[in-house]
Symmetry: C2
Subunit: 594 residues, 2 copies
């Protein structure tokens, strides 16, 4: 471990440093962050951008009496390093000891577990109000990136924070980037403020009722005075008695030239990115076939428009692809609620919108799906990415979209199991005018049959009978269809059961006719879904059979927030393994293994 | 019918009028609105406020080529009157022919069916983008009230609208009111703009990138020049080639003195409000006991804080009560997302937040419930009002909160069946520190046992065995507990079955022990819930029994948007009548009626 960092075990140690030592510490912190993130993967550029500001915050303020609330909290690595968790960054054996987000279970310096955007101002306003109600003192500081400001929850928070009548400090970390480029009218004003060094008369933050301070170059080490300026400004606002915005410019990726040059790519990186040679080989996957489909379709039909709320990289929408689409690509900024309403209106007025959004972030849109889209029955297409049980952080799970979406009236939610089905569903959805449609883009293994899917998806809730058998029927949804195939095979091998295999295609309804027919020669139906069971797909089938003699077992995840639990462990826990399922079937039917 | 209105059958007829005739028409329209709304109930003050502006819009613009998108659309009555639907306001026999909101099924002049706030800018941006993609022309005008501007979706929409690079006109109808008073920093700026007649340098709309026009006195008839000014300004912005805000001040309730004086009370009124003599008798109900509880508790505990997102009237929070609570009442403006995060943070930091929100509007908060609140397990209390199957407009149904909330991990969602249970649950929730809790405030008949409820609600998912019987068990949730009692009684009378009656208390989980015990001497379990079945409470019980011989029937609503369907008709449709249920039970068990 290097010189200064060696001595830092708590915020108190930061307060002992000279400015020159802090500058040295910034370099040391960047060094360990770069090495650690390149090993484990993680948010590289956002963390490199906010090293100095985090040090200055801990130098001036007194955490945990003063409270820092990080937006998304993907930029909290320096904060973790300075608050007793540096070994998670310096000791390779402890790289996985701490999560990539703030977590109250790790430290009293973390107030909330967060991973979604645009929440810090709202949360901080509550923290400050609690302080006031309790008659306590102390500073409440919300950190928020410029990119997160477009989210409605941030705005709602600002509106209430501004009338708090007591101390709350909003530190806007303006690196002129969202994950990709910023989008929207707000960002013209942020540019005016940067260009005028905070002096422009028309000021979004002042218009919201905040006092306003501006810091240029919050992390420009070469300038030599950035830490002094940060400290000076933070000292000015410390203990301030009214709502205040500190608007600070920083350089995303600072200190790692390749990240400074490729801010979007280095927002979040896979392990080994810095060591990997750029691959020119393109392996077909669900992202590439989506891009190919949209690219071709957009040329044929100028009313097709691809919409994305600020996560183009996650969906494989490269800068080149976005440029190629031109006006037919709209990054609406972080604004999932707006995105749904916008797509609904486009569809209503005869355009062909395709909205691509991640399962975890679609959680922002329940009401918009219900009211703005499905109540109006407008034929928009929503692609849900990254849906399914995962080993992810509890803040980014993709296992809730089925219960959330599938109980909204009118929606048709589709679960393709391979390339051909996915493309057929996508094309059907884009061309039809009768339904609001969501498609759960398969996540994980890429499967192609090579045989064009000619299913007529306008036959809503028509399941596909893949293989007709008897005794046991396996209804295997979307990405768990392959598991269904394995279970069928093992049932034959182990229990000599020639099971029926069904690919339901539709998540939002059941094929009553097919399910009724199963009653004649089946005793057990099992359902497989890649998400939580409660409120999900399988329970609808269970209810269908609830007054019959048919037994049903639903397989899927428990209703729980799992946090970085390995997938294999989760599959064991939920019995999502062929041998566990076959054993359950054996027990349910009181069979003897052959 | 009066003179001018007689001649108005379409927007084309408005265009033929002189300004003087339009002034006369405004009076005539107000007259019919006042009479109609006082007869049927509805949004009185918002509609009286926007008569002139609506006429001027139809005078200047060319609907439906030019498109008006109304926010909430509760202010669309004049629009309906001018677009071929006046008989719904002038002919008492047709008062119920048209809904209180825009509806594309009624008229080509209505683009969307909407009833929730803060959507118009987002929707209009999509309408405008579709126009541009299709190479068409025409104006797109979003109407939005000042109160609705606080909602995050409106902000997200403004951010995207501002960079549209073509025609979109946002008409801000600033009557200096939300449903109650406006709250938040944004409204200081609106005041500055009003005080400076739109000339203040710091301008929220300009900071968002919009061109900006100001109209004073959009409906001040006495001034004599308001219609001219409206027409003049609308003509200026007609066919404008860039995003533009027209900021117009109006008087909410204009033309009805009692509404001008009591803007909040007259936002939405019950039938006969103008004729009714004010009653001084207070009848105890779930609103009054909530107010009494909070009032008492707030005095004892200065950390208790009641939070409401801009719907105090619906919850019975009178201006006097709000004043009495002082700093312990926070109206966070229309900002449901923020409200949840704010409550979560307050709870985290040791305050005792109680957030009151309507079932239909809680739909805005899926992600905040999941991430900001329940993932953090902070002990906030959320009161869900108006939950249940209703005869309401499709935009304001309360039958979706159970599927939405009950599948979120960690949440404890409680369903009291009477006053005593409700107060016991509320007090338990406020005092405990282990769970995020929501309580479904009973809606409808007020029931009091007079016997204090001493249940220990910390025994999570412990159902209450009300009456132990056999053969059939009735699990009757919340407001349907009374129906369960009726079914039990009728089962005895008609089928000589001594049924078991269970009050589950908990929506978010099941009492496996009690359900397991039922297997020994029961053949059928029925579940009753006041909401849609899909993803709801009953399906969880069905799944519990899915591999046993127990039969289960779930009762609740279908997954559908019903639109002003009488409650009796819905109960018939869903078999939510004792005799229908008993008949189902008879058929399921192959019994003969005695």
């Amino acid at each position: 471990m290097s010189n200064i960092l060696n001595k830092i075990n708590s915020p108190a140690d930061v307060k002992k440093l000279s400015v020159d030592e802090m500058k040295e510490l910034a370099s040391e912190i960047r060094e360990v962050i770069i090495k650690k993130v390149n090993t484990t993967g993680g948010h590289m550029a956002p963390n490199l951008g906010i090293v100095e500001a985090t040090m200055a915050l801990h130098y001036v303020f007194n955490s945990p009496v003063d409270k820092f609330i990080f937006d998304v909290s993907h930029q909290c690595y320096t904060h973790k390093i300075l608050t007793g968790r540096k070994e998670g960054f310096t000791d390779e054996s402890k790289y996985y000891n701490y999560s990539g987000y703030t977590n109250p279970k790790e430290s009293e310096h973390d107030i909330f577990k967060v991973g979604h955007t645009s929440t810090s101002v709202s949360l901080a306003t509550g923290v400050a109000k609690a302080r006031d109600l309790k008659g306590e003192t102390g500073n409440v500081i919300a950190l928020i990136g410029d990119g997160s400001l477009s989210g409605g929850e941030a705005f709602e928070g600002l509106n209430n924070a501004a009338v708090l009548n007591s101390n709350i400090i909003i530190l806007v970390n303006d690196n002129d980037m969202s994950i990709a480029e910023n989008q929207g009218g707000l960002y013209k004003n942020l540019k005016e403020l940067r260009d005028s060094k905070g002096k422009a008369e028309c000021n979004f933050f002042k218009s919201m009722g905040f006092d306003y301070y501006y810091i240029e170059d919050g992390n420009n080490i070469e300038d030599g005075n950035n830490i002094e300026e940060l400290i000076e400004t933070f000292n000015k606002v410390k203990d301030i008695n009214h709502p205040t915005v500190v608007h600070m410019t920083t350089l995303k990726g600072k200190g790692l030239p390749i990240a400074e040059q490729n801010k979007e790519t280095f927002h979040w990186i896979l392990p080994g990115t810095l060591d990997a040679k750029p691959s020119t080989e393109v392996v077909e996957n669900y992202n590439t076939i989506t891009v190919d489909y949209v690219s071709k379709k957009a040329k044929e039909d100028k009313t097709l428009v691809l919409i994305n709320p600020a996560t183009p990289g996650a969906c494989g929408f490269s800068p080149e692809f976005r440029k190629e689409l031109g006006k037919q690509y709209v990054d609406v900024a972080i604004s999932e609620e707006h995105a749904i309403a916008y797509a609904s209106a486009l569809a209503k007025c005869g355009a062909k919108p395709i909205l691509a959004v991640l399962s975890s972030f679609i959680q922002r849109t329940y009401d918009q799906f219900s009211q703005d889209l499905c109540l109006n029955n407008n034929p928009a297409t929503v692609l849900v990415y990254w849906g399914g049980i995962s080993n992810g952080d509890a803040t980014h799970l993709g296992c809730f979209d089925i219960p959330m979406l599938s109980n909204i009236p009118n929606l048709v939610y589709l679960a393709p199991v391979n390339k051909e089905e996915y493309l057929a569903m996508l094309d059907w959805s884009v061309e039809q005018k009768d339904y609001s449609v969501a498609i759960r883009v398969p996540f994980g293994n890429f499967i192609s049959t090579g045989i064009e899917d000619k299913t007529d998806y306008s036959q809503i809730n028509k399941f596909k009978m893949e293989e007709e058998g008897k005794d046991v029927a396996i209804v295997a949804l979307g990405s768990f269809f392959e598991l269904g195939k394995k279970v069928k095979s093992m049932l034959k091998d182990k229990l000599n059961i020639n099971a029926t295999l069904i690919n339901p295609h539709f998540i939002t309804g059941i094929d009553k006719e097919m399910l009724e027919e199963l009653k004649s020669n089946h005793r057990l139906v099992i359902t497989l879904e890649d998400g939580i069971l409660e409120g999900g797909f399988g329970e609808k089938i269970t209810r269908f059979y609830s007054t019959s003699d048919m037994k049903v077992i639903n397989y899927g995840a428990n209703k729980e927030f799992t946090d970085c639990v390995p997938l294999g462990e989760l599959y064991e826990r939920y019995h999502l393994k062929d041998y566990l399922i076959v054993n359950d079937i054996k027990n349910c039917l009181n069979l003897v293994q052959i």
